[in-house]
């Protein structure tokens, strides 16, 4: 991210009021095509006006198309959307095909997408499905039955055997070994 993005408009990707729930409404409300009648950089837009504009207006009766000639200035598309946003494209030296595609893009979006720095790639109105965390979330249900204070749960955690336990273990091992030694001579005597 470069420094200039700090001053760019930022936010989450949000749909305009009620869009996609009720009926379909094209979000582009009007588009102004500004161009020059003689300059070379308006060649593409002039051929667009000649061949495609009538079809465009017929296909999109909900979009008001204004054509504004002005002398020796670069051609521009300015789109105004229902949510009050505007999108502005300089189309100097664009070919007719390019302009058709840009007009299509302007029609299908609801704001100038690249002008918005997204804070996150997702957004939700209900951030938690299972509700807020509480001390009882993911607790073992068996804890419900226990009466506190409980000696077994309340005792300190042990990761190593204590010295006493170690001594008891050694003593028991010794006892086992002695028992074993006593048993072997008896077996020998039998045979």
């Amino acid at each position: 991210m470069s420094n200039k993005h700090l001053f760019q408009k930022f936010g989450f990707l949000r749909a305009p009021f009620g869009i996609g729930v009720g009926r379909y409404v094209c979000q582009l409300q009007r588009i102004t095509i500004k161009f020059c009648k003689s300059h070379g950089c308006s060649l593409g837009i002039r051929s667009f006006l000649e061949h495609d504009l009538i079809d465009y207006a017929k296909q999109n009766p909900g979009v008001v198309v204004y054509v504004k000639p002005r002398r020796h200035r670069s051609p521009v598309l300015k789109a105004e959307y229902l949510n009050g946003e505007t999108s502005w494209i300089c189309i100097a030296n664009f070919s007719r095909q390019d302009i058709i595609q840009w007009m299509e893009l302007l029609k299908t979006q609801y704001h100038d997408g690249p002008a918005l720095r997204l804070l996150k790639l997702w957004h939700t109105d209900f951030p938690s499905i299972q509700g807020p965390w509480t001390p009882f979330t993911f607790k073992n249900p068996s804890l419900n039955q226990i009466k506190f204070p409980d000696k077994k749960i309340g005792e300190a955690l042990k990761f190593k055997p204590t010295a006493t336990e170690e001594l008891i273990r050694l003593f028991e091992e010794q006892q086992e070994a002695e028992k074993f030694d006593q048993e072997i001579p008896v077996q020998k005597g039998v045979s």
Binding site: C26, P61, V64, F136
Partner: protein
């Protein structure tokens, strides 16, 4: 002869090249006046007070008839053009125009267009009725208080103004004020409903209200808009009316008793059957939260309930 012509031409070319060469010595085509001029313009602009927002309908590229036509087709509606024009014309605009004529010296000012006062009144009634009926249909178990709360939320000026500006009325409205106020936007929305009811019928207007106003509830937490004040008593009434048994709240768990981080988990049971539970910092709070959770689930307001439907047909006139 040809040879002479060639000679003369080459002589001209040389002269031309010589001119260009001599003229360009030490010259880099840098316009040194641009930067200071721009700086001066910017400085003067900054010194100016805040400029009023430009009015879209004053631009050269503005055709009111096309705008009205596009408004109608964009929403795929069947407004009568005359009535649509009337719905957009506020009384203040007509008064303003008459005043202008008087100032110009016309003795009997005349401005023969009708304003939308009538539509506003009628439209408000229709909208209110449609909203109430639609909410009753889609949330059949919600009590009257809840329906009224949701209805008031939808009919609030802010909500109506949002709905109005998102169908593109802002630039088409004829009013004396600029920029258009929230109140005018809200009034225009109800005036449009009134105009549509007259252009087609009330049932058609109900689809308009559903698609452009009631959809505002789609991404809202409904319990935030309406929440019962005494939830436990209300739940008790609901359960006892249905099953003739009273409910009982029991403590499921508690942690951090007598500390600032205390948590209580309270469950509500009816005849030993678990209905739901809630958490709170005190037992009373947890009990209320549990009751609200259960009520929201019963009424279909909970965030886990099935979302509101926005495709139901409404028969208002019947």
């Amino acid at each position: 002869m040809n040879g002479l012509q060639l000679y003369l031409q080459s002589l001209l070319n040389i002269k031309h090249i010589y001119n260009v060469l001599t003229a360009n010595v030490g010259y880099r085509y840098i316009k040194r006046w641009v930067s200071p001029t721009q700086k001066e313009i910017t400085r003067r602009k900054r010194r100016l007070p805040a400029q009023p927002e430009s009015k879209r309908s004053n631009f050269i590229e503005w055709n009111r008839n096309s705008e009205i036509y596009a408004f109608n087709t964009r929403l795929s509606e069947k407004f009568d053009t005359e009535k649509l024009n009337q719905a957009f014309t506020h009384k203040s605009y007509i008064l303003d125009e008459l005043k202008k004529q008087q100032e110009m010296g016309i003795e009997e000012p005349k401005f023969d267009i009708s304003h939308n006062e009538e539509y506003i009144e009628k439209g408000r009634e229709i909208t209110s009725e449609i909203v109430k009926k639609y909410l009753k249909k889609s949330l059949p178990r919600l009590p009257e208080v809840g329906i009224t709360a949701l209805h008031d939320y939808l009919m609030s000026e802010q909500m109506l103004a949002t709905a109005s500006s998102h169908i593109g009325t802002k630039d088409i409205i004829l009013t004396s004020e600029h920029p258009v106020s929230q109140q005018t936007l809200a009034q225009t929305f109800v005036a449009l409903v009134g105009a549509l009811a007259e252009s087609v019928n009330v049932d058609h207007a109900s689809a308009f209200v559903r698609d452009f106003l009631i959809v505002g509830l789609a991404n809202k937490d409904l319990t935030e808009i309406w929440c019962p004040t005494k939830p436990f008593e209300l739940l008790n009434d609901v359960i006892s009316a249905e099953r003739k048994i009273s409910i009982e709240a029991r403590l499921i768990g508690q942690a951090g008793k007598n500390t600032i981080l205390s948590v209580y988990h309270v469950g509500i049971y009816a005849n030993k059957e678990y209905l739901g539970s809630g958490f709170g910092e005190t037992i009373a709070e947890a009990k209320d939260v549990a009751a609200i959770n259960i009520l929201a689930q019963i009424y279909g307001l909970h965030h886990t309930s099935q979302p509101l439907r926005f495709n139901e047909e409404l028969n208002v006139s019947a």
